[in-house]
Symmetry: D2
Subunit: 304 residues, 4 copies
Amino acid sequence: MSVLRLGFVHIRVTDLEEARNHYTNTMGMKVVHEEPGKLHLKCWDEWDHHSLVLEEGGVGLVKLGYKCKSEDDLVEYEKAAQQFGVRTGRVSKGENLTVGDGVAITLPSDQRIELFTDIEYGGTETGALNPDPWPRDQRGIAARWIDHALIPAEDPATVERFFTEVLGFHAAERAITNPSNPELLGSWLSCGESPHDFAVVKGPNAKLHHFAFFLEDWNAILRAGDIMSMDDVSIDYGPTRHGITRGTTIYFFDPSGNRNEVFAGLGYRTGPDFPTISWTEDQIARGIFYIQRELNDTFMSVFT
Amino acid sequence: MSVLRLGFVHIRVTDLEEARNHYTNTMGMKVVHEEPGKLHLKCWDEWDHHSLVLEEGGVGLVKLGYKCKSEDDLVEYEKAAQQFGVRTGRVSKGENLTVGDGVAITLPSDQRIELFTDIEYGGTETGALNPDPWPRDQRGIAARWIDHALIPAEDPATVERFFTEVLGFHAAERAITNPSNPELLGSWLSCGESPHDFAVVKGPNAKLHHFAFFLEDWNAILRAGDIMSMDDVSIDYGPTRHGITRGTTIYFFDPSGNRNEVFAGLGYRTGPDFPTISWTEDQIARGIFYIQRELNDTFMSVFT
Amino acid sequence: MSVLRLGFVHIRVTDLEEARNHYTNTMGMKVVHEEPGKLHLKCWDEWDHHSLVLEEGGVGLVKLGYKCKSEDDLVEYEKAAQQFGVRTGRVSKGENLTVGDGVAITLPSDQRIELFTDIEYGGTETGALNPDPWPRDQRGIAARWIDHALIPAEDPATVERFFTEVLGFHAAERAITNPSNPELLGSWLSCGESPHDFAVVKGPNAKLHHFAFFLEDWNAILRAGDIMSMDDVSIDYGPTRHGITRGTTIYFFDPSGNRNEVFAGLGYRTGPDFPTISWTEDQIARGIFYIQRELNDTFMSVFT
Amino acid sequence: MSVLRLGFVHIRVTDLEEARNHYTNTMGMKVVHEEPGKLHLKCWDEWDHHSLVLEEGGVGLVKLGYKCKSEDDLVEYEKAAQQFGVRTGRVSKGENLTVGDGVAITLPSDQRIELFTDIEYGGTETGALNPDPWPRDQRGIAARWIDHALIPAEDPATVERFFTEVLGFHAAERAITNPSNPELLGSWLSCGESPHDFAVVKGPNAKLHHFAFFLEDWNAILRAGDIMSMDDVSIDYGPTRHGITRGTTIYFFDPSGNRNEVFAGLGYRTGPDFPTISWTEDQIARGIFYIQRELNDTFMSVFT
């Protein structure tokens, strides 16, 4: 396991100032760098330079960056990806602001991910010397960090296979049509101990379903919902509990229509020996929205 | 203020055994008396003999019982009700199991309420000597008490006037069409310090919208939602926050289709000098479901 | 029951600027009026003009103000108090800022309380038209309201009798030496539906043990504790749960040494028919600090 | 990182039946195997055969078992440990019930740890097919898993060096005398993403300070505290917040005097690139008990 975590999300937004307002005043991120048409932001508990890049013009995913442990790993991942048969390329230091050399991969489902090891250190807002447990002057929802992303894919099984065989992820949970002759409908994949750092569900290629901000617990989810109401944020679904991952959640949209999630709770601690959980097709609605056991239309049909 | 609280709810259920399972195993009530076609139940933190009567045959409200402080008050309420112009009658001791003499009133919107002062003392499950804060052997959702009921009325203003002028309630919150020439759409009325012991909204006469169980807090709401999923309870809406009362909530149905609510949170402390809160028509969805700011169809159209 | 609630607490502080910092930046109150040597403050969810008066010079209680429903009640309370045999006097409109005529009473234990009905209306910070559940720009602990006060008395039984017989309070909980031949050690008295608006325990006359700020729930208690650490507030005891009232709590001191409490949770709903809970002497430590079942020295010996 | 987590804790207890009652009825574990003088237990969310071994006779630590990813790793760890200069040995399959071959290491501070890769699979109580988020029939505190252990050492720096250099742990937080010429007072070490899987503080060799059970959140901590009071468990300290790890906590003793902790909260997500947090000596009390900023005597002096 040398992929450490989702390092950054890079998306397009139709209006940069509306997006700035949403991600700073509502979500509580901080702008760490700005240039014409582009903003770099981070959450208060993240120590890398940034975790979100907003680029003006359109909507949807540009790419996901996954941080890895060592440069040797990058080389191995590149080789394994080529053997797997996906398109790869090199990313030079500085192409991503403050980020070192990396490897670009076009997933079998056509989204772009980039692997990197170096990024400028920014430090968390509580610091590394006798820190308080949270910063006194929090903004809005005060999201702690960007936690995971979920993408749709016409063939989720191949994407899952890529993440497990090439990048060493393990599936914490899987949704399948039926146990006897299963077709994969979705997979929640971890590169460490949290339930998912990446997930894929059946849907159109080259799109994003959502990326998620981590919150402390169910109380923080309520507070987030209150702030979304105060700030007129468009809700997709929630608050509720996920069966899959046990997390608690609200799905909502940024002003451009990119879907965000606030996700809370260390549901369980996973790892390479974690017994992968299976959800059968008849129970998938319960797996997604555990309390209501029903899926709403927008959640199933809106991708950006 | 001598109406103390909602004392009991008496409803019809289509199947008594399904209802028993719902109100005991899911909601956590205890059967305190049973006879053919009828069950009397109470919650663990209630000390009166019962708070819920289930009668087999059909669905919907039979009556609401409000407990009053003194018998003198009953006489005064009866007189005032007659002057108000509603139908009243006497209830003899024993007509309601273990309940003393009372006054029956047909509301202007045709629901029946009964006022009483005496009911057999049952004691809470934690007792009155060196009690634990909660009983160790809780069942299911472990609802604390029945808290309030909401009824629809073709003319909610007259029902509100009845509760304030005759019974001494005060409106904690009111929903109106617009501030300049207001028509009343709903009123949340308190006989003491909690935000509401009774509420009325525009809708058909002679029906019930829901009655609510009190839970400790937002965490208990999540736990309740989890149990509803485990027990295949049909959810109407939630979990969410109310703007009106600030409470947190899930609406759901018992197996017969009577709507229940779990309601949590001492949003504020009201009283006769509480400055009544107004909600204007354009903000009512936010008043009802604060986070989502949208009303679902069933919530607005299903009455029993 | 026409005493509505604890209306204001008036205390002495050694340094007004330190006290201002504590009650505003840490506790989250707002200064509504200031004059040389004196501050008037209120919490965000209180609608009366003020709930706390700080007077420079010394430490300890000046008086407690209890708000009543009607002026007729004031006259009756005055008469009953005189018959009870305590010293009473009249308070003229304006003696307390924005407060109307009132009655002053010297308790049998020598603390001064004042009863009043009128006080200037200030409004809560969320307002009375389509309000949010909490104000977006909260300060520090963001206490909701001042909830109750506890005083020591050499003869708590007489103080209890005064509050029940003269002012119509009811004892929600009582601590006694032993059930067979009980001596009263403490009484938690309510004028409405909350577990206590006033409490008395055995101790020296003419002193204050603490006054309490109401918070939403156990999560707000943790957040309050965190802020006390950030602001170097001196902790007396907690966080913990009370057996008595079921509330959750932290006791701490303002910079002058006056003991404050943050208290959370609607443990139960009381009323005139509430079955008074008894705690026996051997269980009192558990009644006070339910989890630890031990009392600390300062809690038992520091009065101001 | 191929040490996965703390796999089991093996301790001595003076009375096996008292211990059984504590770890099952109070803590919520389940006995998975019993034989004369010995019990094997697991928590509801653990899938390995057991996580706790109780052996009758005395009190204190027998050994800690850390689960590793592969047998190749065991060989490497053994070699590295020998080079480090600690005593090592081989553990044969079956010496620990259902556990495969392993490596025993005597730490520089004389506690015994064992590394292993195989242990019989037991499954969690919610299962791996369409699972509920928690088991409906929970017992007592319903601890989720055993999370970490803390040992004292005369020379904590050498123990820290052993865990980082030999076993690949990284220090999430460190307590030092002063930044300019630091002596190590304590180290909180992670083998994955949680703040600590092992910790060491200055103290006597060959002893245990505590081992900890993981709970969901601060609400679960309160519920645990309530149950400890109901079951007359001896509390050492808490509930409170840790500055170090940000976790919330209660320390308490099992009937034999072994110290347990309930620990909650995913304070942050660590990893090899986590910027190690330093606590200076003057702030250590705040680091340990963040709210109170004071250490109690028993916490500092009782080791078993």
